[in-house]
């Protein structure tokens, strides 16, 4: 009854039940933390050109290159159980048969914004410093934070932002599609518990996202008059790794 083995078993059993209860409490507690995210998203420029899916492909497809302005305040999404925020801008457009098939959707830009307490990782988004601040004083040594001094995670202000991904449709044709929407999405990754995605409606203490949408149409295909410089994409922090692993 009281040999070493049963003692060890009892201690381990008690430890796991306490750990489980604490984790469950932490996971549920996020419902008490109020949220009021808001964003304003605007389309800056969209161009459609011919391209190939990858260097060795002979397939020619139409690719859309979308530039946008974003001014978002998502600080309230960072509570004590938030490990990181996956932020993305997506373009959605009606499918070939809008009455029975939901709209198609593609990510054009995304970023991983860590919380203040997350350990440093090469694959986190570094917010560009604003131009005004840059001219005011030459930056001192970075504090190791992925956002400029004085900023906090969740404040994102981007002007004329290049996309990370040029997008195409499954059919390879994306020019002249009307009624498209650019929208902001997020995924809150907790330290422990449930993952949470964008909500538009208010639930309890969580208010839905205000704004964060822009309507646009895909323009007709452009030829060789588009400069290569205009079609550059941004590379994210994941460039530190090679091909899929």
């Amino acid at each position: 009854m009281h040999n070493t083995l049963t003692r060890v078993q009892n201690v381990f059993g008690f430890f796991t039940s306490v750990a489980f209860a604490v984790a469950a409490g932490i996971a549920m507690s996020v419902l008490l933390s109020p949220q009021a995210p808001s964003a304003s998203l605007e389309l800056k420029n969209v161009q459609v050109v011919k391209g190939r899916p990858h260097y060795y492909s002979t397939k020619r497809e139409e690719y859309a290159h979308v530039k946008f302005d974003l001014d978002a305040d998502l600080t309230s999404l960072f509570n004590w159980n938030t490990k990181q925020l996956y932020l993305s801008i997506t373009a959605s457009y009606p499918s070939s048969d809008p009455s029975t098939i939901p709209p198609s959707e593609a990510v054009i830009w995304d970023a991983i914004i860590p919380s203040d307490y997350a350990p440093l990782h090469p694959n986190t988004y570094i917010h560009p410093a604003s131009k005004a601040k840059k001219s005011a004083k030459p930056k001192k040594k970075e504090s190791g934070k992925p956002y400029p001094a004085g900023g906090s995670p969740g404040i994102v202000r981007l002007e004329n932002q290049k996309p990370k991904y040029q997008i195409t449709d499954v059919s390879g044709k994306i020019a002249k599609r009307g009624n498209a929407t650019l929208s902001l999405h997020w995924n809150v990754q907790p330290w422990v518990g449930a993952l949470v995605w964008t909500n538009k409606n208010s639930i309890g203490r969580w208010q839905g996202l205000q704004g964060g949408e822009a309507k646009f149409d895909f323009p007709p295909l452009k030829g060789t008059e588009v400069k290569k410089d205009d079609l550059k994409t941004e590379t994210g922090g994941e460039r530190n790794r090679g091909s899929p692993a």
């Binding site: 083995l5 049963t6 078993q9 984790a23 899916p53 990858h54 490990k83 990181q84 996956y86 993305s88 997506t90 499918s95 048969d97 029975t100 098939i101 939901p102 198609s104 959707e105 593609a106 990510v107 995304d110 991983i112 860590p114 997350a118 350990p119 990782h121 694959n123 986190t124 991904y165 997008i167 449709d169 499954v170 999405h185 997020w186 995924n187 990754q189 907790p190 330290w191 422990v192 518990g193 449930a194 993952l195 995605w197 964008t198 590379t235 994941e238 460039r239 790794r241 090679g242 091909s243 899929p244 692993a245």
Partner: protein, 174 residues
């Protein structure tokens, strides 16, 4: 060890063995029940690679849900590549179809520079939601699954653990 086994009455020994079988079958039925509840062949998975860092590290435990399969962009899905039986946890970055048409998805690991087209089967450029995807991640517990990575990397640990479990159940006396 065998001395104490021999000291047991046959009836007592049988009861202990039945007890052990009960523990095993309860665990098995819990797993299968969860499988039915979530409609996923593997409702809990352990992250095996760093391709979703910093969201998921090796050894993190993920809970999947597979009902209502209108997977949206930004969701994290677990899929099996056709012909290979390795579950991969990656994020959806494009979706086409759904509704009356089959839903096609393109995925990418947060920590990978390129999307997964290279990982898919040879003639495949998109995942089929209903065939390839095991489930969508809804819950997260860090690090707990590292035990299973240790067990698969050091097979002798598995044997040792089974023997220890069997011995402790059989030899324990009430």
């Amino acid at each position: 060890m065998f001395g104490s086994l021999a000291a047991l009455q046959p009836r007592q020994l049988a009861a202990q063995i039945l007890n052990f079988a009960l523990v095993l079958s309860t665990a098995f039925m819990l797993w299968k029940g969860l499988s039915v509840f979530t409609n996923s062949s593997s409702p809990i998975v352990v992250v095996l690679s760093g391709s979703m860092e910093p969201a998921f590290q090796r050894g993190d435990l993920l809970f999947l849900w597979n009902r209502g399969i209108e997977t949206q962009v930004g969701e994290v899905v677990v899929y099996n590549v056709r012909g290979k039986d390795i579950p991969i946890v990656h994020r959806v970055i494009r979706r086409f179809g759904g509704g009356s048409a089959p839903l096609s998805l393109l995925t990418k690991g947060d920590n990978n520079a390129a999307d997964d087209t290279e990982l898919y089967a040879h003639d495949q450029s998109y995942l089929d939601r209903s065939k390839d995807v095991v489930g969508s991640v809804v819950g997260f517990v860090p690090f707990v699954g590292y035990v299973t990575i240790l067990l698969s990397e050091y097979p002798w640990l598995k044997t040792a653990m089974l023997i220890f479990m069997a011995a402790s159940v059989v030899l324990q006396r009430e």
